[in-house]
């Protein structure tokens, strides 16, 4: 089937199998390997991309369902001017270790900040519970997000 979507700001038209997963499509057809495969049951968040600005598990989404929509991956986000302050906050707070979860984490945070949903630390913890990080113990990430959201950590 034919899909048309906006991928990282570019209009794309592709032929895909109807059952083609968005994660495989991004990684294999477009070389966008920043989205990672892990749990495959929408628990861990490593495969997160933004579809029309909202976080989606690309491991459980078919390409057909993003036809006509706007998809942003970590590679696309990293090219946006606003990315710099995310990068600065994560570096300053050492909010990453192995880096496997980091792309999905950053996209979820971007979406939440765009929606003004992170008004206190309790909200940060609650809203980010769909992104697992096994390395950091989360504190550095909470501090970085609190700084980005302008709330007290």
């Amino acid at each position: 089937m034919t899909v048309e979507l906006r991928l990282n700001g570019k209009e794309i038209r592709d032929e895909v199998a109807p059952e083609r997963l968005l994660l495989d499509y991004l990684r294999e057809d477009h070389g966008l390997t920043g989205a990672k495969r892990s749990c495959e049951v929408q628990v861990c968040g490593t495969c997160t991309v933004l579809v029309d600005g909202l976080p989606v598990s690309s491991c459980c989404t078919i390409v057909a369902d993003v036809d006509g929509r706007d998809v942003l991956t970590i590679e696309g986000f990293a090219d946006l001017p606003e990315f710099e302050r995310f990068e600065r906050a994560f570096v300053d707070h050492a909010a990453l270790q192995c880096g496997f979860c980091t792309g999905g984490m950053l996209l979820t945070i971007k979406s939440l900040l765009d929606g003004d949903e992170l008004t206190n630390v309790g909200e940060i913890r609650r809203c980010l519970a769909g992104n697992i990080c096994r390395c950091t113990g989360y504190r550095g990430i909470v501090e970085a997000v609190a700084e980005l959201a302008g709330v007290v950590a």
């Binding site: 970590i74 990293a78 050492a94 990453l96 990080c133």
Partner: protein
């Protein structure tokens, strides 16, 4: 407290930003699963659905005839090899031969043009099994009439590191016994004795990146990209298994998406290489989470322990018997068992103790390394007995520790490394952080715990530092960047010794064709041992520069001139070599290289109506000798703290008749943001008492052993002593009901 006058250092001891942050944040960091090779096939593994069975026949014809299938591998394809491997005990075949010993054991593997085809072909393989009795638990395994999982003599692997392996005793594949004095006489006359039976669950490490291997075999040369922590040990095992010279095996390790021990030693490499050998094309095998769960896990353990104390708080004696469930194959079980045995007495001055630890085969998935192994298993048990003794004696548990803990320089284990840390100072600091001695609300409890982990592994590391004519520095070292930050720490060390900016230093990961030998990335050894090799290599370069200049105290700005002076042109390079080798025999008995401190404290609040345990405050002591990068040290302790909370509160692999019941992240829960304690503090202790660079010693594991013990003690302080982990609400609630029946709730 003595005030140490420290030399002024430019880079070491500072929170230098991670060198890998940019790539990782932008989604550019390359992991094994991101690698694409020309003509690469996708591999899929057919795994046994049964926990114990004889393989009667395998019919691969339908699978082989499917379009897009390159080949199907079975045990018959390994007939030209001695197919048994295992770094501790060579007890497992590359792919099943005539028998499967756990549900999930590879029975066949397919290489195909794409994953969907490979999966379809795996489903088309027909296997006939004849079921055998399932030895599902340690108790089943050590019963007198137990079915034996393995027969024939024990074949030692290349890297068990435990002297001569004793013969197998039934299903007990290894036994570690240590002791001193006559415990029995003390128990006979002690005023206070606490004893109990305890169980610790099997746990999944959950490195978010699953085990992934890409292998390519050309003639007798093997090239392997792998998610492995120990590339040089994997190289040696593959060379041994496929009967080729060491130098013909090339292991390349990019960034790893977490490890925590799950990627230590050899895992999926032999099978992937065998499949690539048959396919004559590059093959990738990438586990799914349920496959990685049965590839390796933490040992479940049963334990009987008793401890004796005088009425006025002097510890006398301890006896420990424990049985580690290593599953169907030994993996790192013998080492885990020995380390658990070493952790069992705890760092106290005993008149007498006896420890007998066994490593037992069962028909469950193999168990190996997971961060702070052995110590995590035993510390919560020993420390809960210390607290119970203190309660019965009417003493402050902290005072009992002050009274009985070993002091620096005291012997811990005959012939081994004496204590190299100030444990009393450490535990006092963490206790203070959680408000020890302050008034508590109802159902709030506080606990501390103290332990040691035999760390450092085998002290063999080599590093090469290359200084280029443009002043750029490249460090070649085999350490794996699993997320713990060695590339940053090593850059700081090299920059320090060469007087250059950290940004000028690049640290590469292992490519065994080019990076010099490093034993492993584990046992908290990298900063201490590989870091020392890096420091020595950098000093070696500096000495060459000083030789050229004719004096010491060089400014990095003069390096280009020195190059021109020495090489006669704007080129050339200086190469420094640094190494670390054992001072004695390097044996396990003489070790460890250092004792990793496992000291923590916790405050919990219990909901008696539901059994929910809320962790309010935690504190851990990162007793690191010298923090090369304090920010990374803190983050290591925090990560270990959260894993410790998972191990303590809810993580558990549930097996029934050898079958894993909760094999997905839906049913196996790991800590999320919502499990963060209200306060989490890491106290960095720097006494410069480590054997590493600038007095450093390892960290990052201790908190994982300390936190479950502190939480168990805090819950007991709130009135609910537990002898089984994890502390799920149901277990805690049931315990409270039992206490009510016994008339001890509320206390």
């Amino acid at each position: 407290m003595t005030v140490v006058e420290r030399p002024r250092l430019a880079h070491v001891g500072r929170p230098v930003a991670r060198r890998d942050a940019g790539e990782k944040l932008r989604g550019q960091a390359q992991f094994v699963g991101d690698l694409v090779l020309r003509r690469m096939l996708q591999g899929k593994v057919l795994r046994s659905p049964l926990a114990h069975a004889r393989v009667v026949s395998i019919d691969t014809r339908a699978a082989e005839e499917m379009p897009g299938v390159a080949c199907v591998l079975t045990g018959a394809d390994t007939a030209d090899l001695d197919p048994y491997w295992g770094h501790a005990i060579k007890d497992r075949p590359i792919v099943a031969l005539d028998r499967v010993r756990f549900a999930g054991e590879p029975v066949a593997a397919v290489a195909a043009e794409d994953e969907a085809t490979a999966t379809a072909a795996v489903n088309a393989i027909e296997v006939e099994y004849e079921e055998l009795p399932v030895v599902g638990t340690v108790d089943d395994a050590i019963a007198p009439d137990a079915t034996l999982l393995h027969e024939g003599p024990v074949r030692p692997g290349l890297f068990h590191g435990l002297g001569e392996l004793p013969p197998r005793d039934g299903n007990v594949c290894y036994r570690y016994a240590i002791g001193r004095g006559e415990p029995e006489s003390h128990f006979a006359r002690a005023e206070l004795v606490v004893e109990g039976e305890y169980t610790f669950p099997a746990v999944y490490q959950y490195a978010m990146e699953t085990h992934t291997v890409v292998a390519h075999v050309e003639r007798d040369e093997l090239t392997v990209w792998s998610t492995c922590q120990h590339p040089f040990l994997v190289r040696a095992e593959l060379a041994d298994l496929f009967a080729v010279p060491l130098a013909n095996v090339r292991l390349i390790v990019p960034y790893l998406g977490g490890g925590f021990g799950s990627k230590s030693y050899t895992k999926m490499e032999p099978l992937t290489v065998a499949l690539a050998r048959k396919a004559r094309r590059p093959v990738r095998i990438q586990n799914t989470v349920d496959e990685s769960m049965v590839t390796t896990r933490r040992h479940g353990m049963n334990c009987r322990m008793r401890t004796a104390m005088t009425g006025d708080g002097r510890l006398l004696a301890r006896e420990v018997d424990c049985w580690f469930d290593t599953g169907a194959y030994a993996d790192n079980g013998p080492r885990v068992t020995a380390t658990g045995g070493d952790a069992a007495p705890g760092p106290y001055r005993w008149d007498a103790y006896r420890v007998d630890a066994r490593c037992v085969y069962t028909n469950t998935s193999p168990a190996g390394s997971y961060r702070a192994f052995g110590a995590t298993h035993l510390q919560w048990i020993g420390e809960s007995q210390i607290d119970e003794l203190a309660r019965r004696a009417g003493l402050d548990p902290l005072d009992v520790r002050r009274e009985n803990l070993c002091r620096p320089g005291e012997e811990l284990r005959a012939g081994g490394k004496p204590l190299d840390a100030d444990l009393v100072g450490d535990v006092e600091q963490v206790a203070a952080v959680i408000g020890w001695g302050e008034p508590k609300r109802e159902h709030v409890g506080r606990g501390v715990s103290v332990g040691l982990l035999a760390a450092g592994a085998h002290p063999v590391s080599t590093a090469i530092v290359r200084l280029e004519a443009d002043g750029q520095v490249t460090v070649l070292v085999g350490t794996t960047e699993v997320g713990q930050g060695p590339r940053t720490a090593f850059a700081q060390i090299a920059a320090e010794e060469l007087g250059v900016d950290v940004e000028r230093v690049t640290v590469r990961g292992a490519d065994t064709r080019f990076t010099p030998y490093d034993r492993s990335t584990g046992a908290s050894r990298s900063t201490t041992i590989a870091g020392l090799a890096v420091q020595r290599a950098a000093i070696h370069v500096r000495e060459q520069l000083e030789g050229i200049a004719g004096h010491a105290g060089l400014d990095a700005a003069t390096y280009p001139d020195l190059f021109r002076q020495h090489f006669g042109l704007a080129g050339g390079e200086l190469i420094g070599r640094g190494g670390v080798a054992p001072t004695g025999s390097g044996s396990y008995a003489e070790g460890p290289v250092f004792w990793e401190v496992c000291v923590g404290a916790a405050e919990v609040e219990l909901e008696p109506e539901t059994g929910m345990v809320h962790v309010r405050r935690t504190a851990t002591a990162a007793d690191v000798g010298r923090a090369i990068n304090p920010q990374l040290v803190e983050r290591q302790d925090e990560g270990a703290t959260l894993q410790g909370l998972g191990n303590a509160l809810f993580e558990e692999m549930v097996f029934e008749d050898g079958l894993l019941l909760n094999d997905s992240l839906l049913e196996y829960r790991v800590p999320s943001f919502e499990d963060l304690p209200d306060e989490m503090t890491c106290v960095i202790v720097e006494n410069e008492d480590g054997p590493g660079p600038y007095g450093a010693k390892g960290c990052g594991e201790g908190a994982l052993a300390a936190i479950p013990a502190a939480v168990v003690n805090a819950l007991a302080d709130a009135g609910v002593p537990m002898n089984e982990l994890p502390l799920t609400p149901e277990r805690v609630w049931r315990r409270i009901q039992t206490l009510k029946e016994e008339g001890t709730w509320p206390r």
